[in-house]
């Protein structure tokens, strides 16, 4: 049991940090522009596909650098020529725009790369077990994923707290109108933040592609989870996003690792059930089975009882 717990924690950490890389960009965008960017996970997917294509010619490492830049550039262009145009029609229009964008990117990926899974491999340098615990290997690549995520978090944190730009962005997150009134070029900041946010998603895609499989459904799998994190974490709170990411990563990981089910719960109270009962599906429900829907459950509960999110201070 202990070994399962240790690895569940490690796995939860990897997933959580990966989610955070996506959520950090989304939080920035959401907080500043009020747009829940449905296409955010699509940028993540684009990152993986760009990096895959680059890796065919130049190898993994150049892809790690170039792909996020390309994704960021694309994001900035989309903000400039798409989102900004829609902005005048209100938030619903913006949301719907990003919704359509996600749909289109999915289709475009299938158009350019086809519907098959892609053989995007981690670099050979990292193809060794970092350590072996209870007979299970923890690959160096996963360690690398953790490292990159932590680095990005630190970098982002320093950027936001130490640099001038960061301070303006922070101000824009909590008081968007005031910042505009102070004479800052808010549209430019928006474009930059959108670009950087997309690029962060791109990085996540590049490093997740080899382990989580590069295929056209990879955006859908992560897509809504990322919003869930941003909303649970709370608007305008990077720390909230980090906590929510880790929370969901660990929650899912532990849920899968456990073998608990409704039956166990009933047995605890000395209740038995028959297999032919109408509600058999409910009795036989196990925690691992519902692990992927736990975040949504959490989301609904948080929104009902604390609409501002865990660490948020602004209500919608």
């Amino acid at each position: 049991m202990f070994e399962v717990l240790v690895f569940a924690t490690l796995n939860g950490l990897v997933t959580g940090l990966l989610l955070f890389m996506l959520a950090s960009g989304l939080t920035l965008i959401f907080s500043m522009m009020g747009v829940l960017n449905f296409a955010h996970a699509s940028f993540y997917m684009l990152g993986a596909y760009f990096a895959y294509s680059i890796s065919l010619y130049l190898g993994f490492w150049p892809g790690l650098l170039i792909a996020p830049l390309l994704v960021g550039l694309l994001g900035a262009l989309i903000e400039r020529y798409g989102l900004r145009r829609v902005h005048q029609h209100g938030h619903v229009a913006e949301l719907v725009f990003t919704f359509g964008l996600a749909f289109l990117i999915d289709e475009a990926v299938q158009f350019f790369w086809g519907p098959d899974t892609k053989n995007y491999q981690s670099p050979d340098v990292l193809d060794f077990p970092l350590f072996t615990l209870f007979g299970q290997e923890f690959s160096a690549y996963r360690g690398f994923m953790i490292g990159i995520s932590v680095l990005i978090f630190i970098g982002l944190y320093r950027l936001l707290t130490r640099s001038r730009v960061g301070i303006i962005i922070q101000a824009a997150i909590t008081h968007p109108h005031t910042v505009a009134n102070l004479g800052h070029n808010v549209p430019l900041i928006f474009m930059a933040v959108f670009g950087v946010g997309s690029a962060l998603a791109g990085v996540a895609g590049v490093i997740a592609g080899p382990v989580l499989t590069t295929f056209p459904g990879m955006a859908t799998v992560l897509g809504s989870i990322v919003f869930v994190i941003v909303v649970i974490g709370g608007l305008g709170s990077l720390a909230g996003a980090l906590i929510a990411s880790l929370l969901i990563g660990l929650l899912q990981s532990y849920a899968i690792a456990s073998n608990l089910g409704v039956a166990d719960l009933l047995n605890l109270f000395g209740l038995e059930f028959s297999r032919d009962h109408l509600l058999t599906d409910l009795w036989t429900l196990t925690l691992p089975q519902i692990a992927p829907i736990l975040p949504y459950l959490l989301l609904i509960l948080v929104l009902i009882f604390r609409p501002t999110g865990l660490l948020g201070n602004r209500e919608q």
């Binding site: 299970q136 290997e137 989580l212 899912q252 691992p288």
Partner: protein
């Protein structure tokens, strides 16, 4: 890449040509025999559907049209219908088939779709006597299609899941080193069938084998399989059985391999359509596949030539489902025998038909439940002795274990309702 475009592109020339033919030769003026192919041709599952379509198209052209057609000179025309792997869309495409008078439908992907089509056809045929439609199922393996829900209008040309599991568990049971088995699958009917029957069959054949895990995960929703693999490792399993397909299959295999766990993975769908290429060197000797087709070496020279001819025309595709050819051949044989294209006549002729495939194997369409009985094979993913690889990757399947047709028979609970004529 797709036949529809081809269809569009040749539209005008076909028009001119058909005009010419009508004027010139009465023998060629006969209507083609039109057969529908209904599978996903767009969307996430398009590659599997398109691959099947190419194989059927090739089978029709290469085997029959190039040799002067069937029924005394009629060509076979394959009409692609895109059901997007959705039961709803399947219904719509079915109605299209009815209104275009397409009476034979080839369909294979997704048991949900096959079930939907099966009940739709049963209903349609009951309500519209004289306009019956025939379902040629070349790939959907849900046992109920030839058991509880068997239908006179449905013929299956692949072994169903229990037949496959029966052989798979035989193979596992023969290996005394296997003591602990972990079963993991997608949380839907096929996953359930695999799980339930693996347990039952293994219990009967090797009571000493312990089932150390029986896990279901939501289909297509798992980001990372590592947490599941952790449990597999912790359970001390020495083999894994999974019915996963698509990205879930790849991700699961990848995670198992990444964790350093060196145990065999017994699968149903872990080859072709990008999967073989993606697993590459990591999957060698780990990925085992139970299928009705044989891996390398291919059993007959005729089969090899047919494969090469297919490859020459479709360099980016593999002959993943030779049973498509077999199904078409048997349907044509039924047509020739009865000199009719009426679904009822074809169905009657298909019942209990015995047929020798291009692999040289004699197979049997059991009349009782319309389930084909054929040999089953267990192959392994490798790059040694692979004459015909998959995904042009150098890796492919090599057969390790074969069972002749008569040993694959399992009983059926089918009580077929036959229409009266």
């Amino acid at each position: 890449m797709n036949i529809k475009n081809q269809k569009m592109s040749y539209f005008s020339s076909a028009l001119a040509l058909s005009l010419l033919l009508i004027l010139a030769q009465p023998a060629f003026s006969q209507e083609p025999v039109r057969i529908a192919f209904m599978d996903p041709l767009s969307g996430a599952f398009a590659s599997i559907g398109n691959s099947g379509l190419k194989q059927l198209q090739f089978a029709a052209d290469h085997m029959f049209n190039a040799k002067g057609g069937i029924l005394g000179g009629r060509m076979i025309e394959i009409v692609p219908l895109d059901n997007q792997q959705s039961p709803t869309e399947t219904q719509l495409q079915f109605r299209r088939a009815v209104s275009e008078d397409l009476r034979i439908i080839f369909q294979g992907n997704s048991s949900a779709v096959a079930n939907a089509l099966n009940s739709t056809i049963t209903r349609h045929n009951r309500r519209n006597p004289g306009q019956e439609i025939l379902q040629i199922n070349y790939s959907a393996v849900d046992p109920i299609l030839t058991n509880e829900q068997c239908s006179f209008w449905h013929f299956r040309f692949d072994a169903h899941a229990i037949m496959k599991l029966n052989i798979l568990t035989d193979y596992i049971a023969e290996n005394p080193d296997v003591k602990k088995i972990y079963i993991i699958g997608q949380d839907y009917s096929f996953g359930q069938v695999v799980s339930d029957n693996s347990i039952a069959l293994l219990n009967a054949k090797r009571p000493d084998i312990e089932i150390v895990g029986n896990e279901f995960h939501p289909i297509g929703q798992v980001k990372d399989f590592t947490p599941y693999v952790t449990k597999i490792v912790a359970s001390g399993a020495d083999a894994v059985i999974t019915g996963n397909f698509g990205a879930d299959m790849v991700s699961l295999a990848r995670s198992i391999i990444d964790s350093g766990l060196d145990i065999p993975i017994y699968t149903f769908y872990a080859a072709y359509d990008g999967i073989t290429a993606t697993l590459g060197a990591d999957g060698v000797d780990r990925i085992h596949l139970i299928h009705n087709d044989s891996g390398n070496p291919l059993p007959s020279e005729e089969r090899k030539q047919y494969y090469r001819a297919f490859k020459a025309e479709n360099p980016n595709n593999d002959m993943t489902q030779p049973r498509i050819l077999t199904a078409l051949q048997m349907v044509v044989a039924a047509m020739e025998e009865t000199q009719s294209t009426d679904p009822y006549d074809i169905a009657v002729a298909l019942e209990d038909m015995r047929f020798t495939t291009i692999s040289g194997e004699e197979i049997w369409m059991r009349g009782e439940d319309h389930q084909v009985v054929q040999g089953l094979h267990l192959s392994v993913h490798t790059d040694q002795d692979v004459e015909f690889d998959a995904d042009n990757s150098g890796f492919g399947l090599v057969t390790r274990y074969s069972v002749p047709a008569e040993e694959t028979v399992v009983e059926t609970s089918c009580r077929m309702r036959r229409p009266r004529r």
